[in-house]
């Protein structure tokens, strides 16, 4: 019998489950599992509502998305809470999805920890910036003046 050794077509990222540490229940993964499903459901309505207002209603009424538009919308607590929920749920849902994808495809532990760590830092900063804009926006200020205004 020939004993040619060739690498298998698929390199298993983890060849042996038996060699792994004892399985442990994970409350964290359970939380994220339910979070992804519930936030996904909420986002169907939040995101579709957002799309309808920003891209359909504005067109139909001949309006324009400018500072005055934002001013009028964020003058009411309802739309601020709506946008806040949309921002937080979409952002956390997306970031956690990216974390899970990294976990699936990056087998190297160091690389995986680095990528997930970077993701956490970058998305954390962005999320806080977005939340700050919604929370601290003052509808009584004058429109900003600058190169893009």
């Amino acid at each position: 019998m020939t004993t040619t050794t060739r690498r298998p077509r698929t390199i298993y990222t983890n060849p042996s489950r038996a060699a792994r540490p004892k399985p442990e229940a994970s409350g964290r993964e359970r939380f994220w599992w339910y979070f992804m499903r519930l936030s996904g459901l909420a986002l169907v309505f939040l995101a579709l509502g957002h799309m309808f207002i920003m891209h359909v209603l504005v067109e139909l009424t001949g309006g324009e998305i400018d500072f005055a538009f934002v001013q009028s919308r964020w003058g009411t607590p309802f739309w601020r809470i709506y946008d806040f929920l949309l921002l937080v749920l979409a952002f956390v849902h997306g970031a956690n999805g990216a974390r899970i994808v990294i976990g699936d495809y990056v087998a190297n532990r160091t690389a995986r920890n680095f990528l997930i760590g970077s993701l956490l830092v970058v998305s954390g900063i962005w999320l806080i910036l977005g939340m700050a804009v919604i929370v601290f926006f003052d509808p009584n200020t004058a429109p900003p003046v600058g190169p893009f205004s």
Partner: protein
């Protein structure tokens, strides 16, 4: 009629990469894809390698990717597959030769969930452990699994990372977790609640589509998540 059969071949002693080969095979509409493979192996190219045992949809050894979906070659008929048929090995596992894959990661997950009744207590009447028809019905669906691996190798999470326990092992854990006679429920739920257990399921329903026994796998997975909650495991 003649069927154009495309098979993804791979010989580890000769090929660097798998490649497609085409065969023209005479067939009747009621022939199975397995009959076509037999025709190739017996009359055209004896080196074609695949698994099959009972050839009647019970042993679960001939799951293959046929026309883009995991099916049992012995259950899929030519009249349903059409005149052009492609056959590949199931995905996510090392191809040993042609349609033959190394099933070891699949069996490791299966063994880990302890797929057997655990009960060291002596039955009340000393003979048998009785169970109500309603309790028996709870695992009717999942007890029909034939371990063909069609579900697990249709799962995109498993394709990317074989440390995920996979739908087949969850189905077989479910079969004993909801069995009123079993006493190792807690231990199995621990394995299911591991970060590589049920929480990696992305509810894409690929496994449900692939299952030749029509087991409601996603429902079984949801029932296991509910049992984890009921057991107070976090």
């Amino acid at each position: 009629m003649d069927v154009q059969l495309r098979i993804r071949r791979y010989n580890p002693e000769a090929d660097d990469e798998p490649h497609w080969e085409e065969y023209t095979v005479p067939a009747e509409p009621n022939d199975r894809v397995l009959d076509l493979l037999h025709h190739v192996k017996w009359y055209q190219d004896g080196t074609l390698t695949f698994r099959r045992s009972c050839a009647h949809g019970v042993c679960g050894s001939d799951a293959m990717l046929i026309n883009g979906r995991n099916r049992l070659a012995c259950e899929y008929l030519v009249k349903d597959a059409g005149p052009q048929i492609t056959v590949e090995a199931i995905r996510g596992m090392a191809v040993l030769k042609d349609l033959l894959v190394d099933m070891e990661p699949f069996w490791e997950s299966y063994r880990q969930v302890k797929p057997f009744l655990v009960n060291d207590e002596i039955p009340v009447d000393g003979k048998e452990r009785r169970q109500s028809p309603a309790d028996r019905d709870r695992f009717e669906d999942t007890s029909r699994c034939i371990l063909c691996a069609a579900c697990t190798t249709a799962c995109p999470v498993f394709w990317a990372d074989q440390s995920y326990v996979g739908p087949a092992a969850i189905v077989n854990a479910h079969r004993f977790i909801v069995d009123s006679r079993d006493t190792a429920k807690e231990e199995r739920l621990q394995i299911m609640a591991d970060p590589d257990g049920v929480w990696r399921c992305r509810t894409t329903f690929n496994c449900v589509e692939a299952c030749p026994r029509d087991i409601k796998i996603t429902r079984a997975i949801l029932e296991v998540t509910a049992e984890i909650g009921k057991a107070g495991l976090r």
